[in-house]
């Protein structure tokens, strides 16, 4: 079996050469970082004022970590390393406490990102002959535009379907004979269950591959998708701070996700001690960008947990593999592929005067999709006694949450004092979804 590959020179690069390249790019990245107010200050604290102060790749360990809080603090331009005129795009996220974060990209940055996504697509065996339906959200969510650009670069016929509207997705798949899709695993399971309702069978589709990501899922879920559709499904890993998709991807051997080490330096550390962990030990993924000029990030703590897969992949790529993600080191929830922090929900609720102090966030599975239920107490003072006002309140809470977290929850109103009180360590999140 010949291994499909987009950029053999880089993907099969000898480790020694790859690490030399990493060092050159790390110095370049530090030079970029030193143009930002944030890193000027942060690096001055450790006495680093020139990229030449880094003597070897090992010196990476001397660099400070960067956290999501740092990104919030630096918002909007504290981490911008180029003139605004040089940036061609930004992706911003609403952040956990209403404080947003932003990543800027120059034309060159987008070009590099696109190259990484193209590598992923080809590594998973897709080609310019494929019809690619991108079922993830376009806009601020990086999964839409990220895969779109990569797929166009590979030369696929791209259908920018975006997320949702399952009936339309199915008819697009049938009308245009879609061969490859990109979606969350839970959405693909949902889509399969909706086929019969549209009078479409799997045999009438030409689907052969799916790229799945944006939410943690088990090997069993992947196999289930593969069997239901009669396809191969490939795991994708990315996060907006590291561009988005295109960070790590499975090749046709499906033995872990190759992380493009010419573009990122990968570390796995103990989230408590921040000490590096050996191959095979699960810890927090820490990454340094090597090819992003507009917003360089040094040793960014992703809060994602995984471990390195040992040995060599039969595909021959020298870039190391991450194991399937196994959880988060913080309280972030993933609801149908969308990242949600409980604090975002709390903030939105507490802005509404009719809402009491206690609330409960409950996650359920409805079919294959996640369902977010937000239970709140009503405040007895503004209560009018009119059930229609309550319906209106529920609607307004739902809208406020939707605009804060991009997920429309089911809102339940409850009597004052009926939910666990906010003092102490009240458990505010109940996840009833079966473990993945």
């Amino acid at each position: 079996m010949s291994v499909p590959v987009w950029n053999p020179a880089v993907e099969f690069m000898e480790r020694e050469t790859l690490e030399r390249l990493q060092f050159i790019n790390l110095r370049q990245t530090v030079a970029w970082a030193l143009k930002t107010p944030f890193y000027q200050r942060r690096l001055a604290e450790i006495g680093l004022t020139h990229p030449e102060d880094l003597g070897s790749l090992r010196d990476l360990r001397k660099l400070p970590y960067t956290t999501k809080d740092d990104l919030r603090e630096a918002f909007p331009d504290g981490l911008l390393a180029v003139e605004r005129e040089e940036a061609v795009r930004l992706h911003t996220s609403s952040g956990t406490t209403g404080m947003p974060t932003v990543i800027y990209h120059t034309r060159r940055d987008i070009d590099h990102w696109t190259e990484l996504v193209a590598r992923c697509i080809v590594a998973a065996g897709a080609t310019a002959h494929d019809v690619f339906q991108n079922m993830t959200n376009y806009g601020m969510f990086t999964g839409g535009l990220g895969l779109h650009y990569g797929a166009e670069r590979v030369g696929m016929l791209v259908i920018p379907a975006s997320s949702g509207n399952t009936s339309r997705q199915i008819h697009l798949m049938r009308n245009f004979q879609t061969t490859v899709v990109h979606a969350t695993p839970s959405y693909l399971l949902h889509l399969h269950s909706a086929l019969a309702g549209e009078g479409v069978t799997v045999d009438q589709l030409r689907l052969r591959k799916a790229f799945i990501g944006a939410e943690p899922h088990s090997e069993e879920t992947r196999r289930k998708i593969e069997i239901l559709f009669g396809i191969q499904a490939y795991n994708s890993y990315g996060l907006s701070e590291m561009n988005g998709p295109g960070v790590a991807f499975e090749c046709v051997y499906q033995t872990g996700l190759h992380l493009w080490e010419d573009a990122y330096i990968l570390e796995i550390v103990d989230p408590e001690t921040l000490q590096p962990l050996p191959e095979g030990r699960t810890g927090e993924i820490v990454m340094t960008t090597l090819q992003r000029q507009a917003t360089p990030l040094l040793r960014y703590r992703t809060r994602d947990l995984s471990h390195l897969v040992g040995g060599n992949c039969p595909c021959g790529r020298t870039h190391r593999r991450l194991a399937r993600l196994n959880g988060r080191g913080d309280d972030m929830l993933i609801v149908n592929g969308v990242n949600v922090f409980p604090s975002q929900i709390e903030d939105a609720l507490m802005k509404m005067p009719e809402v009491g102090t206690n609330y409960l966030i409950q996650l359920e599975k409805r079919g294959s999709l996640d369902r977010l239920v937000v239970k709140t107490e009503i405040d007895p003072k503004p209560f009018t006694g009119d059930p229609r006002d309550l319906d209106d309140l529920r609607e307004r809470i739902g809208e406020a949450l939707r605009s804060a977290i991009l997920v429309k929850p089911v809102v339940e109103l409850h009597e004052p004092g009926s939910l666990p009180v906010s003092e102490g360590k009240a458990k505010r999140v109940v996840d009833l979804r079966p473990a993945f």
Binding site: K375, I378, D379, P380, F383, T384, G385, D386, P387, L390, D391, E412, L413, H414, E415, P416, G417, S418
Partner: protein
């Protein structure tokens, strides 16, 4: 005009009798009661012997409760009685939002209670037609005379 007590109750076992327990403790009599079901919660609507006291007692116990003016109409308990009343409202395009009735003396006297979108106008119209719009103190002293 009469006052109805609206109480927010979780739709689960044991909540409704928490409300009636408070009323019993304050020796409050219930004339009529309905519940508007809204899924996870309901709104209990009560006509009671002392709405102000009942309201205060429930709020003290942490309930979300509110007093709402309603039209309570005394009428003869006979075929067509309700229809005549509703015709009056329909002629003036007054909408009935919620309603319930109870019999005080079978075959003789009934009370029709309703929330409408133009309360004062409805009260005037009905009084002009000779219907008795009951005030609180009359409503709660109705006897099966």
């Amino acid at each position: 005009m009469a006052e109805q007590l609206n109480v927010f109750v979780d739709n689960r076992p044991g909540r409704l009798n928490a409300v009636t327990g408070v009323l019993r403790d304050h020796r409050i009599d219930i004339r009529a009661m309905t519940i508007a079901d809204h899924g996870a919660y309901g709104v209990a609507k009560l006509l009671v012997s002392d709405p102000r006291l009942a309201h205060r007692a429930l709020v003290d116990q942490g309930f979300a409760a509110a007093l709402k003016p309603v039209l309570a109409i005394a009428m003869e308990d006979r075929p067509g009685g309700l229809h005549e009343l509703l015709e009056v409202l329909a002629e003036r395009s007054i909408n009935v939002l919620d309603a319930y009735g109870f019999v005080v003396a079978p075959g003789r006297r009934a009370v029709w209670c309703m929330e409408v979108d133009a309360l004062d106008e409805a009260a005037r119209l009905l009084a002009a037609r000779g219907l008795e719009v009951l005030a609180d103190h009359v409503l709660y002293r109705l006897e099966a005379e």
